[in-house]
Amino acid sequence: MRKVAVALAALALLAGCSAPQQWGAPPDSKPVQPRPAGVQDPAVLPSSSAAPANCDPLASLRPGALPPPGQPPAGSSMAKIVQRGRLIVGVSQNTYLFGHRDSRTGELVGFEIDLAREVARALFGDPTKIQFRAMSAAERIPALKNGEVDLVVRAMTMTCDRWQEISFSTEYFTGGQRLLVPVDSPVKSIDDLGGKKVCAAAGSTNITAIAAAKSKPIPVAATDALDCMVLLQQGQIDAVSTDDAILAGFAAQDPATHVVGPAFAAAPYGIGIGKANADLVRFVNGVLEKVRADGTWTAIYQRWLSSLGPAPAPPVARYQA
């Protein structure tokens, strides 16, 4: 009984199969397109709070005299850090030359890492009393607001919007947002990218700038700007757009790409600090004054960023009135 049923079912199956499986029919397959986790295409734009009209995003708090290492004023934010025994700093581990992982030693290295170590040196007299916490662009402000980290030194553009939520040190690097495209691409500037996909890190000012461009490119957001580079190499996007120094780091990793076009958005980098820790802002600004003056800034620049050209003069500090 069952056998008959099975035989009938098999016959029915054979009859059913004979139609679609003809000779020369196209195979039932399509190519796999992998993607880094967390890509948004098109990007969800970061919300912007209303900034006061008379805001200067570059103006920070004026520093006082630096206390000697290991002897911060009692009750200050610095005293808490010294008592803890280490400075906790949010950084990138994917931004070549600014903050990246040395694959031989596993240690984080780069321009921003060395700068953060200078703050630790001023606090403890020891640049190794520091704990790095790698984070994505979108994680920076939440980490500062809930006190997970003392500082964020991670290519953070100083904006009036962000001043609403956190504080910044004075400017420590001047970047400008540009484009990275394959060397054989006809694209010369953001104006050539209308309707094309342009990628930047989620939660960065770069995404906002791409969306605001007159040519109306399609913004694509990735967890990390480096994920954009993967997308570009795989032909899934037309250009990466972030700050020139970071793009130079990307181009250094792939000779088949180059940085093009004028900077279409300013990107002054400041060290992010929690809104409540005004004393720490003043202390960090004091450290920055010192490294600008004694040549440390230039030495660090030359160590990491010489591929961008000779070291310029350090950015001039601006203070709130």
Partner: protein, 485 residues
């Protein structure tokens, strides 16, 4: 031919049986006046003048009259008993052969396919975890990890080929195709990441993240679907193989009842209680029914044990092994993410809870412990539980080190292969679980083999017994029919 006469049996005396036999025919005699034979005969000329119909009526009348007489009844009985015997025999043989085929299918195809699906999932997860920890070690990756990754790929490809060849379930086709399409893309991304890492370029880590996303979003879910499909295929085959033979068993019982009824009838109609032919046929039918029942019951019992002690255990161990692997991968990724790994750490905690419960004795390992039926598998589970406990302690220490800024020490404690590091403990745990899995697989194979043995020879035996039934019926009743000539 020894026929036993009634005096040996009937208490009321020699005359009684004849009297009873006569009485027994009374109902038939009482029916006779009402039976159509007489009235039809009387009315036939007036109502039905045409001859063909009249002839047919006559034939029917003669047949009915003949059937009313003992030889007719005996002939009818013979036909019914022979028919029942043939039907029951054919159904029984068919049922046994079908179940035997299903059992050998379970042993040779369905069981191994489930194992292949588990191998596939494990090999893929292991490849992902291995690549993550190789990255953590940085620079020139250790030869042992590189070898392990290559072995994982070989195991995954092998399992995939076995599955593609053997899985007939409709639901297996799409995931098999998905894995075949994605696996080379995955390995391509890993090799790209590897090349970039060796050049000290951070882009390598980005490719690794993309590879890992492909593994977790496409490959592992497809491997899971494939596993579910072949598991369902195994469950169906096992259910069919242990199904009650609903056609054969009632037919065989009916044939047995028919034989007994025939003997009761004969004993009442004639003065002989036993008819050797029918007694032999009854005995053969009884043996056939019992054998069929016992064989079915035995096979079903072994098949159920093959699930309970075999494949269910294997599944628990396989799930535990995969959970351990995922936890291991998350432990590495938490360190790779370097502070941005809260999501991995959360998943580590959840996976460990699924593996061993809150206190280390629950979860999958707790279930496996409760189900372990022999000393060896109990020992394997106990060792695994102890390893998980040690691992959790080490993990706590790793997190403390990382959270207090001692990252290099945390990495050393996590990736070391010695007994005192998380890597070493994980390897030992993996071996314990693999041992438990192999034990379960052996028990599965043993029980399925036993189910096959329970069904072996039954079809041939049923054939012989049913032939005996037929011979007994023909000889026994044939003798009686001949006596009326």
């Amino acid at each position: 031919m020894a026929t036993v006469h009634t005096p040996l049996h009937a208490a009321p005396g020699p005359a009684a049986p004849q009297q009873r036999a006569a009485n027994r025919s009374d109902p038939a005699a009482a029916v006779a006046p009402r039976s159509p034979a007489v009235p039809l005969d009387r009315r036939a000329p007036s109502r039905l003048p045409d001859r063909p119909l009249g002839a047919r009526v006559g034939l029917r009348r003669r047949a009915l009259a003949w059937l009313r007489r003992t030889p007719g009844i005996l002939a009818l009985m013979t036909a019914v008993l022979v028919g029942l015997g043939v039907a029951a025999g054919t159904a029984g043989i068919g049922a046994v052969r079908e179940r035997a085929a299903l059992v050998s299918g379970v042993a040779a195809a369905n069981g191994p396919l489930v194992l292949a699906a588990q191998d596939l999932y494990r090999a893929l997860s292991d490849a992902d975890a291995t690549v993550a920890s190789a990255f953590l070690l940085g620079g020139a990756e250790p030869a042992a990890l590189r070898t392990r990754y290559r072995e994982d790929l070989a195991a995954a490809s092998d399992a995939l080929v076995r599955l593609a060849g053997g899985a007939t379930a409709e639901a297996a086709a799409a995931p098999t195709r998905r894995i075949a399409a994605n696996l080379p893309v995955y390995t391509g991304l890993v090799e790209t990441a590897r090349t970039l890492n060796r050049q000290d370029l951070p882009l390598g880590a980005a490719y690794l993240r993309e590879a890992s996303a492909l593994m977790r979003d496409a490959l592992l879910p497809a491997a899971q679907d494939l596993y579910l499909a072949v598991s369902a295929q195994l469950a169906t085959a096992r259910d069919d193989a242990s199904a009650v033979p609903w056609l054969a068993l009632p037919l065989a019982l009916l044939s047995l009842i028919g034989l007994v009824a025939a003997q009761v009838f004969l004993a009442r109609r004639t003065n002989r209680v036993f008819n050797v032919g029918l007694v032999a046929a009854t005995a053969a039918a009884l043996v056939a029914v019992l054998w069929l029942g016992v064989a079915w019951f035995g096979a079903a019992g072994h098949l159920s044990a093959s699930r309970r002690d075999g494949s269910a255990q294997v599944e628990l161990f396989a799930q535990a092994r995969i959970a351990a692997l995922q936890a291991r991968g998350d432990e590495s990724l938490t360190l790779v993410a370097r502070g941005a790994g809260a999501a991995f750490e959360k998943r580590f905690t959840e996976t460990m809870k699924r593996l061993a419960g809150d206190d280390g004795t629950g979860g999958l390992l707790g279930q496996a412990r409760a189900r372990a039926t022999d000393g060896a598998s109990r020992a394997a589970v106990d060792q695994a539980i102890a390893d998980v406990k040690q691992w959790r302690d080490l993990h706590k220490r790793i997190r403390e080190l990382d959270d207090s800024g001692r990252y290099p020490e945390a990495v050393t404690l996590a990736v070391g292969a010695d007994e005192a590091s998380a890597g070493g403990v994980f390897n030992r745990l993996d071996e314990d679980l693999a041992r438990g899995l192999t034990d379960g697989g052996d028990r599965f194979a043993r029980e399925v083999r036993a189910a096959g043995t329970a069904l072996r020879g039954v079809a041939g035996g049923l054939g012989v017994l049913m032939t005996l039934v037929l011979v007994g019926v023909l000889v026994g009743l044939g003798q009686r029919v001949l006596e009326y000539r």
